[in-house]
Each structure stands twice: as structure tokens, then as C-alpha cells.
Amino acid sequence: MNDMTPTSAERAAKLEGMGCKRKRVEDIRFTQGKGNYVDDIKLPNMLYGEFNRSPYGHAHVKKIDTAKAAAVPGVVAVLTAETLKTVNLAWMPTLAGDVQMVLADGYVLFQNQEVAFVIADSREAAADAADLVEVEYEQLPVNVDPLKAMAPNAPVIREDLKGKTEGAHGKRKHYNHIFSWQAGDKAAADAAFAKADVTIREMISYPRVHPCPLETCQCVASFDKIKGELTLYGTFQAPHVIRTVGSLISKIPEHKIHVISPDVGGGFGNKVGAYPGYICSIVASIVTGVPVKWTESRIDNLSTTAFARDFHMDMELACTKDGKLLGLRCYTIADHGAFDACANATKWPAGLFSIISGSYDIPAAHCLVDGVYTNKAPGGVAYRCSFRVTEAAYCVERAMDIMAQKLGMDPADFRMKNLIRREQFPYTSAFGWQYDSGDYQTALTKAMEAVSYRKLRDEQKQKREAFKRGETRELMGIGVIHFTEIVGAGPSRNCDILGIAMFDSAEIRIHPTGSGICRLGTKSQGQGHETTYAQIIATELGLAADSITVEEGNTDTAPYGLGTYGSRSTPVSGAATAMACRKIKAKAQMIAAYMLEVHDDDLEWDVDRFRVKGNPERFKTMTELAWAAYHEVPPGMEPGLEAVDYYDPPNFTFPFGAYICVVDVDVDTGMIKVRRFYALDDCGTRINPMIIEGQIHGGLAEAFGIAMGQEIHYDDDGNVTTASFLDYFLPTAVETPRWETDWTTTPSPHHPIGAKGVGESPNVGGVPCFSNAVNDAFAFLGSTHIQMPHDHWRVWTAAEKLGLHA
């Protein structure tokens, strides 16, 4: 050895493996406008599809006349439910066990519902013709209020389900009822409430919002009549699921369907499901024999493809007088819109909502969720959260503040007292979840110290006095939360989608020169998978991250997987990647032993090589072993260096975090200034700190939007009044606050690399933190709960009700 020989640490740094702030490799093309999105795909002779949509929230469709539309120059065909019936596709199954109209079949059940599909040789002609489809409607009574859906005389939403007393998840209580789902122990919870000193109860609504990816949903369907094969390019978060569902619906054999997700411009849950646009494009391509493209407009996206939330939670907590939690009860009405097209694991109609006990040691708990139909768009997807986890986290974190207020305790102290303690992990919650690892008190303590929490409370006290004296018209609010997520769906014992276990996969092939390709069942929509998966491989195999190509989204080449949503890529496919690496490494070790003429056990791993124990100068690097795998494998060993792993996680992972937000509220206008936002996240092992930070910034910006202004709002006639960016609040860089990010690291004990997933934490934790800050500003005046969104007029109205404008 001489001085020029790199040390282990120097060799490790060159790999850019786990822990490295590696620059995102996909940004080379994204920042130059060289991404390849669905709308960039232009195939020869391609036609364009456009929907005619319902102007009404609920109506009987008496007649559809397509003659004028069909006469527009360039129009090739116009599809209606009648056309689709000839191929048995007027309705399609949903992921939630319901059926959904592809095109209006006798009725329209929400505004902008798809009525007819025009196919033309240009987008312009298709749009012209879609306008000319003549539909005769007879308006019907509308209900957009989930709390009124099960009233005795509520309008019937689903005529097709008349008389059906059984739904996909058991008995239906009412003609607008979809499912009841419960978890926990009702008797134990009731007993806890009976002996409690202090209880609180509050109706906590999480309004309907929309994931709102920058790229809307789109597809290009191309059916090859000669081969009988369908190629479907689309904005799919879960391409394999789309292939399987497509095959089941269309009866085209699965091997003759090729689903390709190219670059996807954000998904956030909106691009998990199957939509009428996909079905119509496929049918149109089969009918016309040429490719057909469907591109959703912003209004279509906000008003028809999957929304999120719309959970209305009647929440109760029970406590001893000194602030020890005893019980939790929650009854929820979930608005699923006109069709139950919620994207959940099939057996979980309310998703993982029973994470609602949050970060707290609550001995007894029970929750019950009733899903209902209304005249609103279908959906209910996990918008940047695991299934219904955001709703649960919002509810419990709001309730914790309300209880602290009633007890006269500081909300941070009340949390600290009830957080699950480090020594309790693995912790089994009253709902039966086994939390894998956590160190909650440390996180909350670090957060409180970082912002000088006690000083903030002192300042708030002074400001409140000044407000009372009339010296200021501003109120200061401090939001503090501790959230726990449940992500990485999921273990096959808990989770499947239409019977397919929610495993995920990685297939790694190392080339002779020591570079390689990794293909996975997940699909990045901007998360940076091409960067991070390569970093896992770099650390596991000792090959530079730059030498690994990561490929996703082509069902012909990628191993089967359930896709990317619910922060599942790192917990599931990340684990599969590590496990596949370990299979490769085991083979490489045997090759090294053969080459070095020692026993396998005499070798030890050193960053990028196997070396002989006690004799570090005798080694074979992984690059050398890759070459050897193709020409001098031990006798009897098959050549090559590749492995595939299908990872069925033994448990979910439970990322957590402590967030603190400080706001100043102008009581005269309702305007809120976010003075400070501190976010501490613990996502277990950190693969790429820069990407984690970026994910947190993005998720917090979304949380800010949701808490401060977003709502998909319907008027009483069923008109959606917030279907464009004029009125749907998408914050810009100007409104978005500055973020302070921090972390602790508590690895998951059951995950091969200890990683837990992070993309969704900031949305889950951010929304209650903002909301608690706003609520906290008014709490000293006796206000317990102000509903989101906290936009100007609602905040002003809260102040008005408290008599602050007198």
C-alpha cells in the first residue's frame, strides 16, 4: 500500500451510496425540458378523444343525439353508453368493489360526469364536437352533504343498487350507504369513557380536497388488431395493477397488454385508479384501429378524477384529571361521491384509519366509519398519505389540543405525557397495530428546544394581554403536533388489491463491466427513484450509484409490483432492492472465495470488495467479481450476476415526526402570516438527505395549501365551484412559508436497511400543525375548533363569532 491508496471511507464516498446528498439524476432531463410525458407521445395516425360532460349534479339522461357532433369535420366516432354496452363496458368495476359508469347510462350522478366520448383527428375538432353532443336531461334532486346522505328522504343516488342490502363490505343500512367498518374494542372504549374524569367531543371535518398533480391524467391507447395486443401509455402510479385490471375488464389476455408509464408529473394518489378516459381510449382504439390519446384538462382533473379526504369525524377523547389518556372513540361519515372508487387495500374500505390513536398510549379505543354516496365526483384516494392516515392524524392531533385546552394543560406537555415511550416499542396499539420503532419524546423535546417553545408561549401570553388592551389587532398562535404514520402497504396478511398481495419487487442485473440495471414494480412520479434506488444498490453492492440504471413503469420489463403511493416504495421496493442485492452479493462472495482460493467464511465485506480476513491486501472488488461472473464462475455455478426479489413486508413501517408552527392572525381581515414552521421527521435510515428535504418541502407546501385554503366545494345544486386555479387554492412560492427541517433517526427493525418512507409525512403532520396554530390563536377566547380551510373569510368569521370586531 502507498499513500495514494484510498481509504475505506474514501471508497465509500465515491460510491454515493446511502446517506449521500446525491444530486437527482432525473433532473438532468427535467431541468432541460427533456422529460418524456404522456402528452409528449405522438404515434402515427393518432386520434384524440374528448368528453362531453354533464352540466348537472344529478339528472336523468333522456336522450343523447350525437348527429351534429359526428358531422364535425375530422370526427371519426362518438361513443356513448349504448356503444360501450356492445362490448360490455358501459360500467367498470372499481378498486373498492363497486361499479362505476364509464359513460352516463341513463343517469348522471355528479357534475362533469362523462356522458359521451368524441374521437377526432385533432384535439380542436374533438373539443368542437364534444360541445355539439345534444343531451336531454331531466334534473333530479341533488345531495352533496354526506351528513344528510342517510336521512330517511334523501335523494336516491344509485338507482342501480336499488334493493341491494349487501355491499362489497357487508350490510348496507340505507340506500345511500356503502359500507360500515370498525376497529378496536367498543366495550372497552365505553368503559374507559365511563370512568374518565374529563372527556371532549368535537365534530372534526376534513374537507374534500384534490391531489392536483401538475400533470393531469392522460393516456394513449394503441390496439394492434393483427397481433391482438394493446399498448397503453398512461400517467399511472401503478402500471401493473392497470394491466391486470385492464385484462380482467377487457378480456384481452394479460400478456397481450403492455402498460407503459413514462415520466409522470406528480401523482399524489390521483393517478392510482382507473378512469373512464382510459376505458374510452382503449375502446376507441379497438374501434378505430389507430392510437387514441385522451388528455384531461385542469377543470376535468379537479372535478372528476379522484379527490381526497371528505371525512367527517365525530371524535371523543377520555382522560384522567391529571391528563392521562384513557380512551378514544370516533364515528366517521366518509363521503365517497357517486361511486365507491376509493383506492384502498381491498379489505380496508376506510384504509388504515385506525392509526387514529396516533403517537399516544391510549388503552382503549374504537372507531366506526360509514361510507356514503352523494352527488359528487368519485374517489377518496390517499393524497400524499397512506390510506386515510392523514384524516386520522388530523383528527387525533386536533382532539389532543382540544383536550389539553379543557384540562388547562400546555398542548406540548399534554402530548409529552401521553406519547408512547421508547421502551414500549414494539408497541401494540388498542387498534392492534404493532408500531415497529420510535423515540417520540426525544423528537418532541428536540423540536421544542429548536424553537425555544417556552419563550414562544411567554411571547404569546404577552401578545394576548396586549390584544385585550387594544394595542394590537394580531393574535399569535402556536401549533404543536406529534404524528405517527403507518406506511409501506403492505404485509400480505393485511393487504391486497383485488386479491393481489401488496408485495413489491426489484430485479437487478449486473453487467460484466460492473455496471447494472435495476427494474422495479414501483413508479416514480417525481420522488427521485432513479437516484435513491441506485444509492441502496451502491451501498449494498459496492458499485457506484452512477453505474446503475433504474427503470420503472414498463410492465413488459419490470417485475410485478403494486406501484407507488402510500409511501410504499422505500419500505417495500427499497427492501426488495436490498434483498436482491444480498442474493447477488452472496453469489459474488462464492466467486471471490473461488478466485482467492479460500473458504466463503474466510472473506469479509469491505465497502466495495470481499477481502480475506486478516489479510486485507488479498481482495476482489465487486467490479472484478462482476467480470468473473461471466467467465470464471466456480464449477457447477451458473454464470451471470442477477437476482430478483419479491418482498412481502413482515409489518408496516411507522415514520413519525414533531412539527411546530407559529402564526400571526390579523383578526380584521382573517389573514394569517406563518412566522415559523419547524419540521422534525424520523423516517428511519435516511437514503438521500437532499431528496428527503425536498420531499418534506413539497409535502409541507401541500399541507399549507390544504390547511389554509383548499376545498373542492359544491353548491346545493351540485355545481362544483372550485374547479380551477382561480378558486382552488394552489399556493405559489410567494405564499408558501419558509421551512426549517430537522431529523432524528430511529431505524425500522424489520426493514432490511431500516428505512421507513418519508414522502407523505409532511402532508400528514403539516395539516394538523397549521390548523392547530390557527386554532391556538383563538383558544384563549374559548374557541375549541375552527373547521378548515383557514382561509381569510372563515378565519374572519371565527373572529366575528367571538365578538372581536365589536
Binding site: 374528448e50 384535439r123 380542436e124 374533438a126 373539443a127 368542437d128 360541445d131 384538462s297 385542469r298 377543470i299 380584521d668 381581515t669 389573514m671 385554503g709 366545494h713 365551484t721 372550485t722 382561480l726 378558486d727 387554492f729 399556493p731 405559489t732 410567494v734 405564499e735 382561509d791 381569510h792 373569510w793 374572519w796 368569521t797 370586531h805
Partner: protein, 288 residues
């Protein structure tokens, strides 16, 4: 979000534009910056068969002093208004208001003429032009005429501009030296229209209001000149009680619609809050 088909015309002179308008009649729509018209066309709420783009008429651009007035060409962009040293020194409220319209990309293209001629009460410039007592110049087949901004707005998208007329310039009297001014606008985010906004230009003499003009944005189907409020304020020292009376008088003339920015009552109250703040700031800037 695909507009219907249309013919595109790009005249080189006002005369040519007027001729086209006369020829095309109701089938022709003038295109200035396009930030109102084009979205409306994309939603197919407007389906003009002919668009007459005024962007090619050099005479419609520019800012110049003319005696005690400043004349702004109708196709002058909001960005130009912000960049103008002449306006910054003579009518700073114009610059302040322009900077609160939408975002830089919009302001590079959006024009003063388009903003005032469209008759949209949510636009910021109509109220400001009423506040400043501007005059609009219009050219039609029968020649040129002048219309006072204070008499121009008749209702939602309804103005005194007659069909066949092109609004060519805006003439604004320069407010007295030492005047105070403010445009206070409450909006939900960058790019949004006002929930409510108030424009104030005033002069002070011996600590008392000597002259004053107040106009309100987006709290009725047209911009509002708050004349009663002005009367209450003149001669006062802008003491709290008088301001409160004036604000109440201004609130009384509003009739906002409920929209996602808030219910009518809230928007009326916000007009009052914006006016209160605009008066305070204008007073602090006024000399005398």
C-alpha cells in the same frame, strides 16, 4: 380548455382596427393583452368568430406628459407602467396598483387599456381610474370621443364604449404635488382578484383633508366611487371617529356577490378595512 376556431386579424393602425370592427360587427372582438378574453374563450364562454389583435398598432403604446395630464396608450402593459419613471414621480399610485395585479408574467402582457375597457369589476385599474378622474379616449367610425372614467362603468362587462369603438388612450390628470395615496388590496394569493380593494388619493392642508377621492374594487357589479365617504372626510383630520363614519358610508354603497373569496357581508367589511388602511397610509404620505 380548447377554444373554438376563429379568424385572426392584426391591424397596423387604429383606423384599420376601426374599419375591421365596422366590417365584422358583433363577430369581431378586440384582443389586447388577452388575459381575460383568452381564458373565457378556452372555457367557450366567449366564441368570437374574429379576433382583432391590437398588439401591432405602435400608436397605442407609450406614456407621455401632456400639460398637466399624463397620457397612456391603451396597449401599454402593466410592466411598462411599473417601469415608467414619469409615472413613479407623478402618479405613484398607478405604479403601486400595477404591481398588485397578478404576477410578472401577466404584467408583461396585460395592458392598461384592456384592463379598463373590459368592464370587469374585479380588475384593479377601473376603480383606480375613477379615483384619479381619468378620461378614456375612444375611436370609432364617427371619429374620436372622450369618456370620463367616472361615467364609463354601467354594470358587469357593460361600459359606455359603443360597439365599433376602440379605446385608444387613457388621460390622467396629475394629482397635486404632495398628495397622499394608497391602493390596499386583499387577495388570497398572487394572481388572484381582490376580495376587496380601496384606492385613495388625497391632499392635506393644515392637517386637514383638502381634497380626496376614493374608489372601491370588486365589491359590486362595477367599480365604485365612494362620494359620500369623500364628503365626510373633507375638512377632517382623519380622526378615528370620522374615518369610521366615512368607512360606514363606503360600505353602504357596496353590493358584492358571494364567491369563494367569501360571503357578501365579509367582502363589504373588507372594503371597509381596506379603505381604513388606505386612508391611514395616504395620510402618512401626504404633505401639508
Amino acid at each position: 380548455m380548447i377554444p373554438g376556431s376563429f379568424n385572426y386579424h392584426r391591424p397596423k393602425s387604429v383606423q384599420e382596427a376601426v374599419g375591421l370592427l365596422a366590417k365584422l360587427g358583433d363577430d369581431g372582438r378586440l384582443l389586447a393583452g388577452g388575459h381575460s378574453l383568452i381564458p373565457t374563450m378556452k372555457l367557450r364562454l366567449a366564441t368570437p368568430a374574429n379576433l382583432i389583435d391590437l398588439g401591432g398598432i405602435a400608436d397605442l403604446k407609450g406614456i407621455r406628459a401632456d400639460g398637466n395630464d399624463i397620457v397612456v396608450g391603451a396597449m401599454t402593459t402593466q410592466h411598462d407602467l411599473i417601469a415608467s419613471d414619469l409615472l413613479a414621480s407623478k402618479i405613484p399610485i398607478l405604479r403601486e396598483t400595477s404591481a398588485q395585479i397578478a404576477d410578472p408574467q401577466v404584467r408583461y402582457v396585460g395592458t392598461l387599456g384592456g384592463n379598463v375597457a373590459n368592464g370587469d369589476p374585479a380588475n384593479d385599474m377601473p376603480a383606480l381610474m375613477m379615483c384619479l378622474n381619468a378620461t378614456f379616449h375612444a375611436s370609432g367610425k364617427s371619429g374620436e370621443r372622450k369618456i370620463a372614467a367616472r361615467g364609463f362603468y354601467q354594470g358587469l362587462y357593460a361600459t359606455a364604449l359603443q360597439s365599433g369603438e376602440v379605446l385608444t388612450a387613457i388621460r390622467i390628470p396629475v394629482p397635486a404635488a404632495g398628495h397622499g395615496y394608497a391602493y390596499e388590496k386583499l387577495k388570497r394569493k398572487i394572481g388572484d382578484f381582490a376580495t376587496a380593494a380601496a384606492a385613495v388619493v388625497l391632499t392635506m392642508k393644515g392637517g386637514k383633508v383638502n381634497s380626496c377621492a376614493i374608489a372601491l374594487t370588486n365589491v359590486a357589479d362595477k367599480p365604485l366611487l365612494a362620494e359620500e365617504a369623500t364628503k365626510i372626510l373633507i375638512g377632517s383630520a382623519l380622526d378615528a371617529a370620522t374615518v369610521k363614519r366615512a368607512v360606514a358610508a363606503a360600505e353602504a354603497i357596496t353590493s358584492p356577490a358571494e364567491d369563494p373569496r367569501g360571503p357578501a357581508q365579509y367582502r363589504t367589511k373588507m372594503a371597509g378595512v381596506m379603505l381604513t388602511r388606505a386612508l391611514a397610509r395616504a395620510k402618512s404620505l401626504a404633505k401639508g
